[in-house]
Structures are given as C-alpha cells and as structure tokens.
Symmetry: C2
Amino acid sequence: MQKATAEKSDPIAAQLAPVGRETVQDRVYSELRRALIGGLFEPSQVLTIRGLADALMTSTMPVREALGRLITEKALEALPNRSVRVPPITLERMDDLLRARILIEGEAIALAATRMNSRQISIIESMLGDWDEMRALKHKKDVDREVTLNQAFHFEIYRACGSAVLIPMIESLWLQSGPCIRVAIYAFSDAGEVDTAHYHRTIVKAIAAQDAKEARDALVADISRPFTFLRSKLEAEAKRGMSA
Amino acid sequence: MQKATAEKSDPIAAQLAPVGRETVQDRVYSELRRALIGGLFEPSQVLTIRGLADALMTSTMPVREALGRLITEKALEALPNRSVRVPPITLERMDDLLRARILIEGEAIALAATRMNSRQISIIESMLGDWDEMRALKHKKDVDREVTLNQAFHFEIYRACGSAVLIPMIESLWLQSGPCIRVAIYAFSDAGEVDTAHYHRTIVKAIAAQDAKEARDALVADISRPFTFLRSKLEAEAKRGMSA
DNA sequence: TTATTTGATTTGTGATCACACTTGCATTGA
DNA sequence: TCAATGCAAGTGTGATCACAAATCAAATAA
C-alpha cells in the first residue's frame, strides 16, 4: 500500500496539499474558543449542550467534550447543578487574572525580545500598519476586528518566545479574561484606542532594539489598561448598588 | 418540597454530611491525574480508551472525556494517528517546564509567605515532622509516599497564596512534569533526600519569618534539583547513544 | 393573594452501536 | 529471503437512547 507520508520524489504528491484530519470536536472547540476570546458570550451566561449543538449544527457528543475541555482550563465554569456558564466578573478575579497575565505574558515578551529575528519583527511592524489603516478608514467602532487584530499582534510575539509551556498558559489566560475585556472595550473603546496604538508602537520599538525591560513595561501598561477601566466601572456599579 | 440546601435549624440535617455528587467522569479524571502526577505512567506510553475503561471498571464514555481534558492541559499528547500517549521527555521540554515552574510557583510562594497565618504555618511544620518520621522508619525507598507527601506540602503552601488563577496553572505544571520527576526520583532518591529535607525546612522557616525572597530562593532550589539530576542523566544517555 | 405542590419539559450523564481508520500478522509473490 | 498484499482485530469518533435530576408552569390550598 502507498505510504501515508508525502513522497518528495512523487511528482503528483508534490502538487497535492495534505487534507486536514480535524475532528468535529476540534472544530467545535475552536469555535467556542474564538467566541470566548472575542467576548461573544456574556459573563454569567448559561450554555446548554443541546443549544450549542443546534447552533453549531452537530450532535451533542462533540459539544459536551468541547465544553469539558473548556471547563478544565477555567474558560467555563461547572455549576453544582451540572449546568455550565461563562464565569461571572468579580473584582477579585479581575485582579487575579491581571496579576497572572503580567507575570506570564511579561516573561514571554521578555524572552521574545531577545529572540525575534528581523523577519519576525517586520511582521509585527506591518501589523501596526494594518491597524492604523483600519482606524483611519472606519470611524465607527468595529470591536470584532479590533479584538482580532489585538490578539494576532500579541500572539505573533508570544509565539517567538519559543516556549511550548508558556504559550498554552497564555491562551488559557486570554480565554479566561476574554469576556471581561470585551465588556471593557465596549465601554471605553474611544478613550483607549490612542493609548493602545502608542503602547503597541513602544513594544515593537523595544523588541527591535532587543530591550526586554522596555518591552515588558509597555506590555504591562497595555494589558493593564482595560482592566483598570473595567475596575472603575465595576466599582461605580457597586457604589450605585449600595445606595439603591 | 424540602429545600436542597441544608437548613441550619433542622437538627437532623445538622448531623448529616453532604453526599457528594461526583460524576464517574470526575472520578476517572482524578484517578488519571493522580497516576500522572505520581509518575505511574512512563513517558511515551500509549493509553487506549478501552484499556483504561477496563482497568477502571467503567465504560468508554467517561474515559474519553477525561482523556480529552488531560490533553487540553498538555498532561497527555494526541498523536496524529489519534492515539494518545504520555508526552516523551526531551531536554528542551524539561528546561521549558522548569522555567515556567520557577516563574509561577516562585510567585505563588512569595504571595503565600506574606499571607499565611499561624494556623497554616503550624500545618506545614507538622508535615515536616511527618516527613522526618517516615524517613526514620523506612530505610527502603517508598517513592509513592515520598511523592504524595511532597505534593501535599507544596500545595498546602500554594493554596495559601489565594489565587484561583495561579493554582490551576501550577497543577497543570505538576501534571506535565510528573512523569519526568518520577524518573528522576527513582534514579537519585538516596542522593536527594537530605537536600529535599533541608530545602523544605528552609521554606518553612522563611514563611514563618514572612521572608518572601528567602522562601522563593529555597523553593527554586528545591524544584530545580530533580530537573538537574534528570538533565545529567539524559545527557549521559545522549552521549552514550552517540558513541554506540 | 400568596405559598405549596404536582406534573410536564428540559437537561446532563452514561451506555451502546455503527462506521472509518489504523495496526499487526499471515499469506503471497518475485 | 524479503518486500508487497490482503485480511482480521483493535481503536477512536460520532450518533442515539435511557435514565435521573433539575427547571419551569399551572393548579391547588391556605
């Protein structure tokens, strides 16, 4: 029988792209991740297996396994009733998440700053350009694209840190803070955009100069900003709740 | 109908302990975690759903979901053939794991050092005593108990750091380094025991003195030791492989 | 009107089945 | 003798079903 590996000597196989072997469960998992990081679900929202299966046009089986995986990485929460929901936002949890992100993403960007080659640096520089372009073109806020670009920019850098252990942890942290961040961006998108652009430019410049400390500091400022905004919003709401 | 929550005014309910509502899947997951952290599986060992289901005396359903969860936290590895195995040990991966553990567990113990109350401190002090007792009694090595005590000691401290985000990450790191550690302990248990005891005593003393830096340094030395041993062993094997 | 109960619907969990793919071994051919 | 072929057992994946627990709504009683 033909070998499964593409033979380099075979002129036909050279023309053929390998056909993916992704399972349905993998697609469901990726889709839910995307939705979570993008903040498509609201905090405290309850998700049902059959509901998601209908929405994703599949059976319950791949969905329940994907939900189980998301629960283990704390992207979702299993209630004692055995229903599953997006974790609610609390001040303590936000501070906890921010501290962990500063610690781990800070380490990753410091590593990346000393390891990125010129090709990788030019990629993130061009991403900066795409960003400016988008902001100039569209005056109304396009939060989805904003979130996607931001994610692509950061992970392009983290990927360069070369740690197969840190990167999944960072993904888990983004998964956990996704719903919070979305709320913050919605509330303060205009106020924060200019700062974001500034921090990102500082990051790129620091990496190009292989200045790990400067890169880390700029990153800390960048990821702290939405948390600070959200914190002030939550505190205002809590105060309003007290007086009511 | 009776409320599900225990009524404090009910004299009967006060006598009753809440009956757990653990699912079969949860038990399978916990059991596999225990086996992984304890190093009961060898690196590169392939696991089959039906095989585990037979061993655990359950059907395939809870096992496959537990395996999926362990794969997402990188405690197991999904091969392109769709079979799943314990990740093999490589030098790069070991260094990567150690760096992450130093970063995150170091932060956790520094936090704990400033937060542990006298009751919590006395608990870890008594664990030190249990340890000495065991070592005095049994001359032959009891690796299982050694690993269990070590885990209990460390996590008693980490729990006190009060971070619901960091602790699951540390659990994931232990899950990933479990198989490696077991190999190291087997190879070097006699050589390392006295060092382990010394580092643990230093940790307890530093925490009692609320000296975060000292506690972190001692922890780094403690968790680095098995990795250093294992590294030298792997390098020796690699050299032997070269000459053969 | 309000609190409680009863019944119907929804939901998660585990078992079983069907199917496709992989793996290992024996057979066949040169 | 050795490589290629073909068959059989093993394995993961997804669908479906049965059952128990939870939820919600209507109906009943105070």
